[in-house]
């Protein structure tokens, strides 16, 4: 079993690429996840970033939607809450490019699988 499946976090980036996941169930979409997904896809391309950007279901923290998970090979995985278009771009510039995490947005809930 591969490492990230063991961590229970879904499809890994086999080729070492970063992965961004956007919660795209009804609650996320209602909170604006569609716009965030679009902005991330478009702007990552515009910046020439080699990323996999994909949809996932709802983790349950509906009050904090839209939720965006960022998984980079060189950093622990984190989940950003209440992401909008502007924050999405900051995630690309600060987290993905500069490897600096954003303040006041990460949620991390105790959870066993």
């Amino acid at each position: 079993m591969n490492k990230s499946a063991k961590e229970g976090r879904g499809h890994p980036a086999d080729d070492g690429r970063g992965v961004i996941k956007v919660g795209m169930s009804s609650c996320g979409i209602a909170a604006g996840a569609g716009e965030v997904f679009e902005a991330l896809t478009k702007e990552a391309k515009g910046r020439g970033l080699n990323l996999e950007i994909k949809k996932c279901g709802c983790v349950g923290s509906c009050y904090a939607e839209p939720l965006v998970e960022v998984r980079l090979p060189c950093l622990p995985t984190v989940l950003y809450s209440r992401v909008n278009k502007e924050i999405a771009l900051r995630i690309l510039d600060e987290h993905i490019v500069n490897k600096r995490l954003l303040n006041d947005l990460i949620i991390d809930l105790p959870m066993k699988r």
Partner: protein, 582 residues
């Protein structure tokens, strides 16, 4: 020290007082610099760490070390001990926190629900493979029995027993139905599972089909869930392509087909016999049982009908074993339960908890307590069929038995948190009004009883109630419980009865004192202008729709109670807070 860079998440979790998160972050940054590891470790302010009232909480990733009540002087200790030497700072470590356990929601938010490959990577369809290739249908049911799984659709009927009954019914054709009608106000667990992990429900259905000897299954999903319907359709198509549905599944003799039917939004169509009538193209009304669906169900054939969440548990039971599953939970309530927690709670959303943790852990530990620092009064569980659980009983474990003892039910999993601004009679009127609206009208106890009970409650909330009305409510409630055709009518009195049990004082206040503590029952309110605060601006008089404000600039103004329609406009427009609401 590990080579993956470390993240230090920081959050001041006190609900009151000045937020010191930023200060602690500064101390960490300084300390990291002094230790010369600032390029390898980032100190970040978090938004929510799922822990409350534990002072400043710090979590190290990827080490997964959790510290609470961290003071400035502890920072260097954490940096020098944990970060540099990999040792735990014992006295700060947080242990035994109320934690969610993800069984049903194991893949929700993790995999792409539109990709079967990702489901398979998370061991999807392994359970089915095991059943089809290594177990007989009887052994499948044995494993289900071992797991102790009970239905999550409301009644908590043992799933293995239902399957076994259907298996023993002899017939050429049998059916499996997934109940995705989910009509309880405030509940949306099933929608999340259908949207976030559709294959797990499909896999559960195929295993059920194999166990009882059915070759055909139906999803019944309410049409208000378009995204769920879309994802289920896509997942079914993928499962056919992957050889998990259709003829000779995984090369065995077992064949199974799946179809989708949409519900048109009637709550009663979630009831199993009404649901089957609806699939048959008839009017969706319940019929008396027996015969039970396992004997004569859809088109008179043996049928099992299971809830979405029930079915989503099934694949895991076969992946990890019935014993693994039954190790979670209490003696009679096994596994986890997903709740949709809403209302006056800080973190509304879905929580999945092991059966047996307390209501307090759910509301305060996971939900973060009341939304605006108010006092939590009670939690309503089980939707319109359930009841309220007062704060004084929050230490009761959440399980089928315990909730029932308290006069509520597990139900499908809606959980509505109420605070001091909520009026019990107002809440009960809402739920009963829902049942009256959704009653199919077929049987008299539900159709007439519900309506009459609602009228009595309205009378009480308008200040015209008598003690006799409470007695009548109790009498009607008993008749509905005993004589209604289906559980809609049988359980509709539950919210009234449970509030009468725990909040009788509130009924007394409404009836005797003509008062509503929460200010929710408009007709019981009185608006009064306080002369000492009134600046005689006359705005209230101008805005009052019923000319109930009389007076002039000289004498001042007052509200004539007989004319007042209690709309509250005067209260809202006054710029000097000179209108009081009592």
């Amino acid at each position: 020290m590990s080579t993956t860079p470390t993240i230090i998440l920081i959050k001041d979790t006190r609900l009151a007082g000045v937020d010191t998160t930023r200060d602690v972050q500064n101390v960490f940054e300084k300390c990291l610099k002094e230790a010369g590891i600032e390029s390898h470790v980032q100190a970040v302010r978090a938004a929510d760490m799922g822990v409350y009232e534990r002072g400043v909480v710090v979590k190290l990733l990827p080490q997964n070390v959790f510290y609470g009540n961290v003071k400035d002087e502890d920072v260097s200790l954490i940096v020098n001990k944990t970060l540099k030497k990999g040792e735990l700072v014992e006295h700060l470590a947080l242990r035994n926190l109320p934690s969610q356990v993800r069984v049903v929601l194991r893949n929700c938010g993790v995999i792409n629900p539109e990709s079967m490959e990702e489901y398979i990577q998370e061991k999807g369809y392994e359970g089915l493979r095991k059943c089809l290739l290594h177990l007989t249908p009887a052994q499948v049911i044995d494993e289900m029995k071992k797991s102790g799984l009970r239905g999550r659709g409301g009644a908590g009927f043992p799933t293995w027993m239902k399957w076994n009954l259907a298996r023993s019914s002899v017939a050429e054709q049998k059916y499996v139905i997934c109940n995705g009608d989910e009509g309880d106000p405030g509940a949306y667990m099933d929608r999340s599972v259908l949207e976030g992990d559709p294959h797990s429900v499909i896999e559960g259905m195929i295993i059920a089909g194999y166990a009882i000897g059915a070759s055909k299954g139906f999803f019944y999903i309410r049409a208000e869930y378009p995204l769920a319907v879309e994802r289920i359709h896509l997942a079914i198509k993928q499962a056919y392509e992957g050889g998990f549905l259709g003829q000779n599944i995984l090369g065995t003799k077992f064949s199974f087909d799946l179809d989708v039917r949409l519900g048109a939004g009637a709550f009663v169509c979630g009831e199993e016999t009404a649901l089957m009538a609806s699939i048959e193209g008839k009017r969706g009304t319940p019929r008396p049982r027996p015969p039970f669906p396992t004997q004569a169900g859809l088109w008179e054939k043996p049928t099992i009908i299971n809830n979405v969440e029930t079915l989503a548990n099934v694949p895991v039971i076969f992946q990890r074993g019935g014993d693994w599953f039954s190790a979670i939970g209490t003696e009679k309530s096994k596994g986890t339960k997903v709740f949709a927690i809403t209302g006056k709670v800080k973190n509304s959303g879905l929580v999945e908890i092991p059966m047996g943790i307390t209501m307090r852990e759910i509301v305060y530990g996971i939900g973060g307590g009341a939304a605006d620092g108010k006092k939590v009064l009670a939690v309503q569980t089980g939707g319109p069929s359930g009841g309220v659980i007062p704060e004084s009983h929050f230490d009761t474990p959440v399980s089928y038995e315990h909730l029932q003892e308290l006069g509520s039910i597990m139900g499908s999993g809606g959980m509505i948190v109420m605070d001091e601004d909520d009026c019990m009679i107002d809440i009960v009127k809402f739920y009963l009004g829902f049942c009256v609206e959704e009653s199919c009208g077929k049987c008299a106890p539900c159709r007439i009883g519900g309506y009459q009970m609602l009228k009595l409650l309205e009378k009480i909330s308008e200040g015209n109630g008598t003690d006799q009305d409470v007695a009548s409510i109790k009498r009607i409630a008993k008749a509905m419980q005993k004589a209604s055709l289906c559980a809609l009518g049988q359980t509709a009195p539950n919210p009234v009865l449970s509030t009468l049990r725990y909040f009788e004082d509130e009924y007394k206040q409404h009836i005797g004192d003509k008062k509503c503590r929460a200010g929710k029952c408009g007709k019981l309110l009185q608006y009064r202008i306080m002369p000492d605060k009134c600046k005689k601006c006359r705005l209230c008089q101008l805005k009052c729709p019923s000319n109930a404000v009389v007076g002039d600039k000289e004498k001042g103004y007052e509200v004539v109670q007989a004319k007042c329609v209690k709309c509250g406009v005067c209260y809202e427009v006054c710029k000097f807070e000179a209108v009081e609401r009592i």
